[in-house]
Symmetry: D2
Subunit: 450 residues, 4 copies
Amino acid sequence: MISSAHELVVDTLGPCRVDSPLSARIAARSASPHAVSEDDRVLYDLALSHAAARGLPAAELPGFEPSVARRKIYFDPAKTRAGIVTCGGLCPGLNNVIRGLVQQLTNQYGVHSVIGFRNGYQGFIASYGHSVVELTPELVQGIEDRGGTILGTSRGQQDPEEVVDCLERMNVNILFVIGGDGSMRGAIKIAQAARERGLKIAVIGVPKTIDNDIPLIDHSFGFQTAIDEAARFLQAAHTEALSAPNGVGLVKLMGREAGFIACYAALASGDADYVLIPEVPFQLDGDDGFLAHVRRRIAERGRVVIVLAEGAGQEHVPEPSRGLDASGNLKFHDIGTFIKERLIADFAAAGVPLNIRYFDPSYAIRSVPANSFDSVHCLRLAHGAVHAGMSGRTATVVGRYHGRLVNVPMSLIVSDRKKVDQGSDLWQSVLEVTDQPSRIGRCLPEAALA
Amino acid sequence: MISSAHELVVDTLGPCRVDSPLSARIAARSASPHAVSEDDRVLYDLALSHAAARGLPAAELPGFEPSVARRKIYFDPAKTRAGIVTCGGLCPGLNNVIRGLVQQLTNQYGVHSVIGFRNGYQGFIASYGHSVVELTPELVQGIEDRGGTILGTSRGQQDPEEVVDCLERMNVNILFVIGGDGSMRGAIKIAQAARERGLKIAVIGVPKTIDNDIPLIDHSFGFQTAIDEAARFLQAAHTEALSAPNGVGLVKLMGREAGFIACYAALASGDADYVLIPEVPFQLDGDDGFLAHVRRRIAERGRVVIVLAEGAGQEHVPEPSRGLDASGNLKFHDIGTFIKERLIADFAAAGVPLNIRYFDPSYAIRSVPANSFDSVHCLRLAHGAVHAGMSGRTATVVGRYHGRLVNVPMSLIVSDRKKVDQGSDLWQSVLEVTDQPSRIGRCLPEAALA
Amino acid sequence: MISSAHELVVDTLGPCRVDSPLSARIAARSASPHAVSEDDRVLYDLALSHAAARGLPAAELPGFEPSVARRKIYFDPAKTRAGIVTCGGLCPGLNNVIRGLVQQLTNQYGVHSVIGFRNGYQGFIASYGHSVVELTPELVQGIEDRGGTILGTSRGQQDPEEVVDCLERMNVNILFVIGGDGSMRGAIKIAQAARERGLKIAVIGVPKTIDNDIPLIDHSFGFQTAIDEAARFLQAAHTEALSAPNGVGLVKLMGREAGFIACYAALASGDADYVLIPEVPFQLDGDDGFLAHVRRRIAERGRVVIVLAEGAGQEHVPEPSRGLDASGNLKFHDIGTFIKERLIADFAAAGVPLNIRYFDPSYAIRSVPANSFDSVHCLRLAHGAVHAGMSGRTATVVGRYHGRLVNVPMSLIVSDRKKVDQGSDLWQSVLEVTDQPSRIGRCLPEAALA
Amino acid sequence: MISSAHELVVDTLGPCRVDSPLSARIAARSASPHAVSEDDRVLYDLALSHAAARGLPAAELPGFEPSVARRKIYFDPAKTRAGIVTCGGLCPGLNNVIRGLVQQLTNQYGVHSVIGFRNGYQGFIASYGHSVVELTPELVQGIEDRGGTILGTSRGQQDPEEVVDCLERMNVNILFVIGGDGSMRGAIKIAQAARERGLKIAVIGVPKTIDNDIPLIDHSFGFQTAIDEAARFLQAAHTEALSAPNGVGLVKLMGREAGFIACYAALASGDADYVLIPEVPFQLDGDDGFLAHVRRRIAERGRVVIVLAEGAGQEHVPEPSRGLDASGNLKFHDIGTFIKERLIADFAAAGVPLNIRYFDPSYAIRSVPANSFDSVHCLRLAHGAVHAGMSGRTATVVGRYHGRLVNVPMSLIVSDRKKVDQGSDLWQSVLEVTDQPSRIGRCLPEAALA
């Protein structure tokens, strides 16, 4: 235990008087989840009890409830039935969470019944005709070795009243919803509808987003596995680019609103020349634009690898009407194919040969089993979720906050999205590894993206 | 930004009045790096600037300096020469750190020369006759695809004065030491010796321990890769155990003083029946002992998988004299072979057939290339280390603290070891997954281990 | 050594009198590379010396020259320079072949110089301006850990006279061409042009086709690796199909004229419901057609996995003009996208929900490093090629024939393509594993495909 | 179809008059399964029907019966019950064979019942108390994703009369035995005992040997997967050896009587300096011996990787008494530990530092799931075995012969072992890749090994 601030001061050789070659790149940084300015400090204490021991006014300090086993619980296990549903797109680790929930509920708490609802929120609605499945520790043994979800999934919302009808009819006391922010909005409505009927049904969420864009949470499950897989495709793109004269490998990765997968995969592989993400607009045409920059870099390096988040550069795609998908999300233009075609046209116009290979591996990435990191992460999220549900929390999700498993009000995590901060160490590292300019061209104002 | 503590309070269905079936297992928990008690809170703010904004007494709050690029630096890049040395046992990611250091120093800061010293601290000592290698971005391109270290490594200390002689003779301004706690103790002495001579040589450490037992630091590089690999061997042990009547798969993993690899690998694979670690003593003989417990469990389950950290159960191995290895560490008894032989003898005595398969995969685990997680981690540690060195920090290491890259005084991280806390969520999860008793037998008092 | 036919007769319980449930599926089989009829026999002897020992008329029996080291060779190593070129599309193992050639030529034969020409046949033509590279054992050490080719590659032919000009100018005695059948046609012309000028230049081919469609040769290098990778995508498609109601996973694999990759990948994964290959036409529309069959099977099984070789069903794609690619091959319609859109339209018309996921992983498959099988195969092909070249063979390729490394006249392997035989055990196994009908619908006559 | 011997003659530049640098290494070669002399030819025709078409005396030519589906079969599927047993050590692919047998028997032939016997031949003997398991296509779905055998296995023989009692009692008509040569000897006795009782029980073998030492058969299932895995450990050994001064990586691989795994793994990895196998004796001590050779090579290359088959150099291990294991095989001395200790002693005596790392990965290799190559191979062996069994063959195994699936009398494959031939291309390639001498030292006469 550190007792004074002085103990954490590092030794220096003397004052810093030389201008850093990186100073141009260091944007005005403030303390955000991914950045902290050079004069700031990262606090040693992370628990309220520590703060209190230092005589700080504990009551006023915002803090998360830890997601741990509690001595007293709300539900009597012998009379409790739990339900599990998986919603939205596939993500590595879904089966690990299911297994963790079932084993913890059954083996540790002695809950008498765990039921799986099939194919997302459709599973509660009679008209779809999906059956339910009784989940036992034997049945879930080994499911984590497979990707996807044994329960099936679907996008889109269903009427919360119909869902509660089903929960009431089947005597479900705790519902675990594994899904993205759309699903969590649905879960909030389900919790509300149950409460309005006076039903004691706990609704606990395990937030799922392969894009890692849930606010307040260190990293979402499946994200590390996605990076592992994405890096394989960057490797392939690099090989293709290296093996042909004027080779370009172009890889579109997941990331509708946040470019975390693109950034981390580029850092993991070390082979990317450009990372284009939704958070950082870029100019396409003109001498300062992306196309001309690629042509110059091909002339220098002989090959180029481009990593593209699917939400990047949407403002460049001409097509006007986008519509909504089944989850109610705005449909995205296919920026990958668009950029590929623009590069082909641009090189052709310049009379420069081009060997471009386009990769669109999203389905292949999201359907693999969880790696070790996510296996452990999913297991512990599942344990935390069971603790939360058994102790009567509701409209609550579990997640890691600065490494700790905590309970977070569901409403907080659907209120916003986490994004790649241009002042963050992460984006700095991406710029350093790719050696791409901080901004490509004189970009559109960010407002134009809204 | 959260403005009041109230916003983080989760919703509950009502008061908890039922005794939890897990309450027996919940030890007296306090806020440690891996645990926090149920009535505590995980603080929302992590930066001093946040604390100050809440009106807290910033000056008194201990905090780490962030490891970021700074506007003013200490060394003039055009006149700076850096040196790199890797010490101690292999660990996934060594080459990634080397590549990250060289590329950041050369491409981003414009440092004019980076030199690699071969085979650990031996590389500074003329009598060993090891050559040095000029490290360029071209030379380190792609080295991260291979395990090990291109610089070679060795265990053991060398005379700090001779090391400083070499640094002085070669005009090295910044020395990067990638090594374990023994090497960091050496690095402190080198920094001291340089200072006593009035030399402006910065000594920056990148702490390496595959066991993840460095205090104050979230996780050391290579640790996640080690778990990935270790889980493969647990899978093999599980397959062997399942494929023979009364099959036992016994896996010895790294972990001299801390059982993190054993714990995480067991959670990642989900197949372990027992995890034995140095932190949790166990009784071997007698009806309550481990041997009898295994026999009973074989009778129930037909097969058993045992994961053993190499430092577990040392008190049971009879051999009296242990000596020191080249790094000055106490040599360990081979608990794996010992337990294997005791199981064979015990089953034979009981007339029960036994098919035991023993795995000792440490060299195969530590020599693989880094996975994606560690690749990114190593790259960013390298960036942080370069920022620290260029800005004149010395006797300083870089590491992650609650997710942030920070500078830590070298003396703090060699003062102690991180261990698996028996009250932690981690150990709770291990107990839940293996279903092994909290304590096996009436154990020796912990003092007996000292 | 077997001395009489009797020794190989197996024991039977008695005569076979029951009609086999499989007899409908057993087409009229004849002895082809992949099939042999039930009354035929597989000969025990495979070497001419064996045949002669049985008193057979050796002179009349066609046989291949083994590709082995010979006591007397044609070229004096100390005065020999060899050249290497890689042509056409990427294929796992190219770097292994390059490494094997260089090491064998240099270390074993003592050849004084080995030169690599860049980017396929372009590398011989001055106007492209590609440099050459001196290939040494040190330079090729470890290149086999990467996919692609360190020499680069390109499609298309160049003027053989210009190529020979270059070989003559650079004093190249042996040229190793690693490429497909187009490249081998080019190599024949180069050998001819050299001969016509009276130059003693040996041209040796290492046939490359990821599709495994080279006649007379057991399997081409890279093919097994391609199956390994393709099976991963089938697994992903299976996961996607299982995780959604009415899920369809559609995977387009390589195979322009021959469906070997599709067949083997389907057998390796065990998860395919349909395998569509160029050799087996199918009806698309109507009650007996493919679309209706898929709809029926979805109703039965809930999900469907379809594997499609890129050359399958070309007759269904309406687009009239196809043109030639840079290698002079007829461009192929994109059958994958076409089938995907037809399925979407067909299910929509029938009012059946559909969750279809389309995978087009060819670039990701072909760019990986060789697996162990292909690593060994490439190494031994390289050894055989060097033996052939050093002993003065020309216009000759090396390959395995029934397991033996042999020399084959280049003209023989460009004369035809190997195809999946519908009477073969391979296709039978595919039908058995997928349970798809032998023929889907009343198909077009095969002539219609020509 | 080739019509004349002339068509297969390759083109040459002229007569060979230069002595080959390799001629010293080319032993007196004769046509064996792995070698063919330079003046021999590999016959084009492989089917009896082809031979007959050339007017050869078909009746006298030894040939294997193809293992294909037949129009008439012996057993009536609706009244047939099959049994499956797996015996001996683990081998990748066991579950694939089980799955293939069950699916083919049930789905294709309509056999009414398939029963699995547990834990090898013990499963037939009441006193062991092992239950049997009804094997359905649903139950075996996905088992191929796991290593080992779902049926369990054991070593050793059981009384054939008791086995037949069990088969008779349970009305088993066809017994599939998946096992090594010991198990096949047992299967022959079971077939005999059944025949003597007048029972119509077909006994079909699927030969299993991870060492690939079954005679007459191209390669046994699991062998390619074993090489894949073994190559990983060679890679680890290479990394360890490279990362320390005077590093030695020593890897003991499977191969009691035949060194195929060691040879192929060395070729696949390309990193071995020595391959020691049972077929090639070596001198250990003295100036010409192995120990001195390693010391000289360490001085030259700085590091050495040694691959050792477990049966190599048995004559050097002093311990006199070896005994038999449960399968009746002679127990082997642990040559790996022995060589490791001799190297340590030898280097110490010479005053040369040594960093040796020893790997003994056999259990980790044999317990992995089959790779794609073996998955396909196992599936087709299973199909062939079912065809053989349903058509009333008995005391018969299935295997590939020069690429074809054939039926082979069980007695032939237990009569001998396949070994690495020192005149073969395989061993030549190993010598070329390692650059080790053909013979190390003045070796013991081969007779001394018997």
